[in-house]
């Protein structure tokens, strides 16, 4: 019971839900990369993710719960942390002792959350309408074209790329930080930090590259 109420439990929840979302990001970027390297494989993988009952009715709800837990706990922590210092400093030199990204996780997180709303509308809502409202038949060849068309407008591509930059900043601190929260700080920590920061750069860059690639994809021109 004490575990549920404690500040440390909130750290564990943030860390574990964050690590879960990191694993999801890795899966997501891998499938997205297929849209550049092999449209056929991308169609197959997307169709599998869209119609496999295990993915649809077990993995997808778990993912949604993971996202909700992560951002709700983030808001709870932010509110509690603000309450812990109700009278602030006249002068607070935060940059002297901590990097900007670590001090502004709430803002990078809010941008990512706003992006998720747009992303859900763009793909998930569209998919639900296609399958359950319009009751269209299964078409395992439609995903590649749909994806490319989505990135045809410049505004959407720009919004996505900006969001990926903020996602990278969020991961830059959050990924390595989750290990510290779970009590992992040992001789492997420098390597863990290197891997986490590489992930924080490479994965958002790949997402951005894929969005720009499809914006410039000649099939929509």
């Amino acid at each position: 019971m004490s575990l549920i109420k404690s500040s440390l439990a909130r750290k564990y929840v943030m860390a574990l839900s964050g690590l879960f979302l990191v694993i999801f990001l890795l899966l997501h970027v891998t499938i997205n990369l297929a849209s550049v390297l092999s449209p056929d494989f991308f169609n197959e993988a997307s169709h599998f993710m869209g119609y496999n009952p295990l993915v649809q009715f077990l993995m997808q709800p778990i993912l949604i719960i993971g996202v909700i837990v992560h951002f709700v706990m983030g808001f709870v922590l932010e509110i509690q942390n603000k309450k812990a210092r109700s009278i602030g400093y006249v002068k607070y030199n935060g940059s002297a002792n901590a990097p900007w990204v670590s001090r502004n996780m709430i803002y990078s997180g809010l941008v990512v959350l706003a992006f998720l709303a747009l992303h859900f509308y763009d793909f998930w809502v569209h998919e639900m309408a296609y399958k359950y409202v319009e009751a269209n038949p299964e078409d395992p060849t439609r995903y590649y074209h749909e994806t490319v068309e989505k990135f045809s407008p410049i505004w959407r591509t720009v919004l996505y790329v900006i969001s990926f930059v903020l996602l990278g900043l969020h991961l830059w601190h959050g990924f390595a930080s989750s290990f510290q929260s779970m009590g992992v700080n040992n001789k492997y920590t420098p390597n863990i930090k290197r891997c986490a920061k590489t992930f924080a750069v490479v994965v958002p860059l790949l997402f951005a590259f894929i969005a720009i690639y499809h914006h410039l994809n000649p099939i929509t021109h």
Partner: protein
């Protein structure tokens, strides 16, 4: 302390480096009266003075003018007791590293500088007067579990009879160097006391004498820390940078492990 060359901006008068400083100091009559920043100008500050000596000079001037002196915490003035505090230009214990305010030399500043001096801010550290805050929350966290129960009734075992791995002994001693000044709380954007609490948990958790009460200790100390109203740790690392004793974030990770393990054991 290594002597440093005086800055070009400092003035040389009668073989002494002196500075004119513009001080913005938080003045607050008592805990229930709202405070405000008051401006003071102080001339003739020497680079060899400690920060607290500079405040002593200011107070002498204020007293001679019949004004109320600025109240601030101090005791040993050699970086051991953890009594001095002060948020100086936005950093606890000022811009220098691994020193307390009493060890901070005025040569770290330049002639004409404006220095903002505030109390450590956290709801768990309420201001008593001016720059003095009540840090008894730390005492209560310590009382919740920062001890070991030793039989002292005549059959006490010599501590040196118990072999302890050197690495563990060193880490325990490093954790034990925490002087409980509260700079970690003051520096943290969340006013979290995790570095202090984790240092106190670690210094016992690493030693066989401390393992006996390890489960209860970490649970009780974390519970008390939460009850005092400190914020949550978000691993910014500001506490480690500002700690005058260099207490490491590895202690927080150790406390996280200890707490998880203790909670799972029930």
């Amino acid at each position: 302390m290594v002597d440093e060359k005086p800055s070009n901006k400092q003035q040389t008068t009668n073989n002494y480096i002196t500075m004119k400083l513009y001080l913005k100091i938080w003045r607050q009559k008592d805990a229930s009266t709202p405070g405000k920043i008051v401006d003071y100008t102080l001339d003739g500050v020497e680079g060899d003075m400690s920060f607290l000596e500079m405040l002593d000079i200011l107070n002498e001037e204020l007293v001679s003018k019949g004004e109320e002196p600025v109240e601030f915490d101090h005791d040993c003035r050699e970086g051991i007791c953890g009594t001095c505090s002060l948020q100086i230009n936005g950093e606890p214990h000022g811009p220098d590293r691994l020193v307390t305010t009493c060890q901070l030399h005025m040569r770290k500043f330049n002639d004409g500088d404006t220095i903002v001096i505030e109390p450590f801010r956290a709801n768990a550290f309420p201001v008593i007067k001016d720059l003095i805050v009540d840090r008894s929350a730390f005492d209560r966290i310590q009382q919740a579990g920062g001890y070991i129960s030793v039989n002292t009734s005549g059959n006490t075992v010599d501590a040196n009879c118990i072999p302890i791995n050197k690495h563990d002994a060193d880490e325990a001693m490093d954790a034990a160097t925490c002087i409980g000044c509260g700079a970690c709380v003051a520096a943290c954007k969340n006013a979290s006391a995790m570095l202090f609490t984790s240092a106190k948990v670690s210094q016992f958790a690493l030693l066989p004498q401390g393992r006996i009460e390890a489960v209860e200790r970490v649970q009780n100390m974390v519970r008390q820390m939460d009850l005092e109203g400190f914020g949550n740790c978000t691993n910014t690392g500001a506490c480690e940078v500002e700690c005058p004793k260099g207490i490491s974030l590895t202690n927080i990770a150790r406390m996280n492990r200890e707490y998880l393990s203790a909670s799972l054991k029930g």
